[in-house]
Symmetry: C2
Subunit: 146 residues, 2 copies
């Protein structure tokens, strides 16, 4: 009997990292760090820049670099990398959403869509400098107890 | 004086949704729901299938569909969609990681990399049916108090 028959692991109960791709990491760092105000965790040259959002890490990768083998036998991170606009959604309160709309407009990142879902939760959408579709939404969009 | 000068919103403190892309949503649903055991939140035809992981929603989109306008003036979700392997990381305990390695192997999704980071946290990497690079990692990889 192998281990997996003895201990059936529960479904993953949390996401630790979410990734987006950007060709220009300087622009990405200025946006996620400067405009959104996220805490920068680390930057590795032109390969990646990582930010913290609560208990999550938001990974911004340059796909031209992450498609290559790492070249470090101790850290054999498998290659990955996507082209085209991805998506990520931050949780924000209703009051913060309204303030973010103004702040993003003022910073030159105008809100592209702003609407309420059938259950009443509001979302705003905007683009990062790489064209990724970012959203801020009230968490009650998905969680009744939020 | 505009609102954004009165109330400067704090940086987003949580990620609500992370997205990956897959051309075949039936395979994606079988993998994320069946193999990983995530709770399915909703599926919309061949456009998307969404899962819950704790306080996060994992969105699997068919990029051929999400690149098109929604056609619903009440829900003008902006287009997005990426090609090529993306990345997402789940938080799991050390014991769960070992059990997941066995379970993924048995399910035909062999672990592609398995190593410890310089701070001692362990990660395993595997692929979803669309080729996205998935990771399970001990959260102390990023959070000293985890």
């Amino acid at each position: 009997m192998s281990d997996h028959e003895i201990f059936s692991p529960p479904p993953p109960a949390a996401v630790l990292e979410a990734a987006l791709y950007a060709d220009d990491l300087d622009l990405a760092e200025a946006f996620y760090g400067g405009v959104l105000g996220l805490e920068k965790v680390t930057r590795h040259g032109n390969r990646h820049v990582f930010f913290r959002a609560g208990r999550m890490i938001v990974l911004i990768f340059n796909p031209a670099q992450t498609r290559l083998p790492t070249g470090n036998p101790d850290l054999p991170v498998p290659p990955h990398g996507a082209d085209g606009p991805g998506h990520l959604c931050f949780a924000t309160s209703a009051a913060e959403l309204t303030a973010w709309r103004d702040r993003l407009d003022a910073a030159g990142y105008p809100v592209e869509a702003d609407f309420h879902w059938p259950n009443g939760a509001r979302s705003i959408y905007f683009r990062d400098p790489a064209g990724n579709s970012l959203e801020m939404a009230e968490p009650r969009l998905w969680f009744d107890d939020a």
